[in-house]
């Protein structure tokens, strides 16, 4: 389980400060997958970054209790534009201590980038980047996958392949997912939370969370 203790997080938005969490304490259980729902700018992506550890809270503590948590898979991407897809994969393998050969082969087959795999990532379309990111994270074994909108990109065939790979992974791992697509989160997640005005509320089913969220609109 991932524990948030008295966590405050805000970010700058022009002249204002936007509060994502205001002294929030909660636990995210393992064994179930969670959907994060909230308005644009409510801080859904920031929450994922906090869970991943790529961003630090202003105050408070976050404990991951030894869980292997992925980086947030999102549009912004974790790839260096000047390096090729293959080199980016190699870099990720080195920092996560994975086998370069096994992961590269998996990603090459999964992402179907063809010759683009050896071209700089800056030449990729956002769909190609998403395929690379998704393939890379699926090749590595995490306990918790953090997914930021990424499943809704790509063509139908690719989406189906993602779902298949995901379904396989989900038997042993959890997903924490941000998505505006209700059908996507209903498919992947068991429960949900709504992020609003610095507070977070949990709901036992994704349906309840969606209803609660829509009621607030």
């Amino acid at each position: 389980m991932i524990q948030f203790k008295n966590v405050t997080k805000s970010y700058r938005l022009g002249q204002h400060r936007k509060v994502v969490l205001d002294r929030a304490s909660f636990e995210i259980p393992t064994g179930r997958s969670m959907a994060v729902i909230g308005r644009n700018g409510a801080g859904k992506s920031s929450l994922l970054r906090l869970i991943a550890g790529s961003s630090l809270p202003d105050s408070g503590r976050i404990r991951r209790n030894g869980l292997r948590v992925s980086w947030p898979l999102g549009f912004a991407g974790s790839f260096h534009g000047a390096l090729s897809g293959r080199e980016n994969v190699r870099f990720a393998c080195r920092i996560y201590g994975e086998s370069i050969k096994a992961v590269s082969e998996y990603v090459e087959a999964f992402a179907e980038l063809g010759e683009h795999f050896d071209m700089p990532v800056s030449t990729y379309s956002s769909g190609m980047k998403a395929r690379l990111a998704f393939g890379l994270s699926m090749a590595m074994e995490f306990d918790v996958y953090l997914v930021d909108e990424i499943t809704s990109v790509g063509d139908k065939i690719f989406r189906e392949r993602c779902e298949e790979a995901f379904a396989h992974r989900r038997r042993i791992a959890d997903v924490i997912m941000v998505s505006h697509s209700v059908s996507t989160i209903k498919k992947f997640c068991d429960f949900g939370c709504v992020l609003e005005n610095g507070g977070i509320e949990f709901y036992d089913s994704v349906g309840d969370a969606v209803v609660a969220y829509e009621g607030k609109l």
Partner: protein, 245 residues
């Protein structure tokens, strides 16, 4: 370590020319400065080879400049890689310091070997002292680089200032004049510049007969260590505010 390898892929551009330039940079500077000095019919200020004198000056200058300017922009040029929670800004600093140090070491050795091959004796009189001067220059470069990286995260204009600063320092660090030979007024002002001490330190290690009045070893070490401490401390303090830009 992964970052060092990843940096190597982009440090030199996508082509062989990048490596060639990184390796020959000291040589190009030395040749240009030697040509100018010869055209002006200047005798080397110390020793009897203009090339060796220039080598001693250009080596610490390029070392400090390259480490500083590359480390200062380490975070922005690694941008998206910081999405991986395992990659911290400090790691990108260390990777760049290490890579620039290694690059300059290799290119300095190559330059030295070329000089030896064509019969110019570049072997320093006091080689241990020479290595210490090298290490202290790395310290100073790392200090300026890390401190600048933090300043840039708050005032991005510092990046441009730093570039100009090194253009000025090229002329004021005693790379091609001996600061000891200047009038006392000018000498004392130029001696405030820690990089000048690195250059003089190299000169004293290279030429046994040269004793500098201005060289203050603890002064330059203090600058390097002080800036490095400031940089790392400020990075820690500002981490929460700067990372989410």
């Amino acid at each position: 370590m992964a970052l060092v390898l990843r940096e190597m892929r982009t440090r030199f551009g996508q082509s062989q020319i990048g490596y060639a330039w990184a390796m020959s940079e000291p040589m190009v500077h030395i040749l240009a400065l030697t040509l100018i000095a010869t055209a002006l019919q200047r005798r080397p200020a110390i020793g009897d080879s203009t090339e060796v004198f220039m080598f001693c000056g250009i080596l610490p200058f390029l070392l400090v400049r390259n480490i500083s300017t590359k480390t200062a922009v380490a975070v922005s040029s690694n941008g998206p890689l910081l999405t991986y929670p395992l990659v911290k800004p400090v790691d990108t600093f260390l990777a760049r310091i290490l890579l620039e140090t290694l690059t300059m070491m290799v290119s300095a050795v190559l330059t030295g070997l070329i000089f030896l091959a064509i019969g110019i004796d570049v072997w320093p009189d006091d080689s241990l002292n020479y290595l210490i001067a090298f290490a202290v220059s790395v310290l100073l470069g790392a200090g300026i680089g890390v401190a600048s990286a933090v300043v840039i995260s708050v005032f991005s204009a510092w990046r441009t200032v730093l570039g100009w600063l090194f253009r000025v320092l090229y002329f004021t660090s005693g790379v091609f004049v001996v600061i000891d030979d200047l009038p006392p007024g000018a000498r004392d002002i130029l001696a405030l510049n820690p990089l000048a001490h690195c250059v003089v330190w190299f000169h004293t290690a290279q030429f046994e007969e040269y004793n500098s009045l201005i060289l203050d070893k603890s002064y330059v070490i203090l600058w390097g260590a002080g800036l490095l401490t400031f940089g790392f401390t400020a990075e820690r303090a500002l981490r929460r505010w700067t990372q989410d830009k």
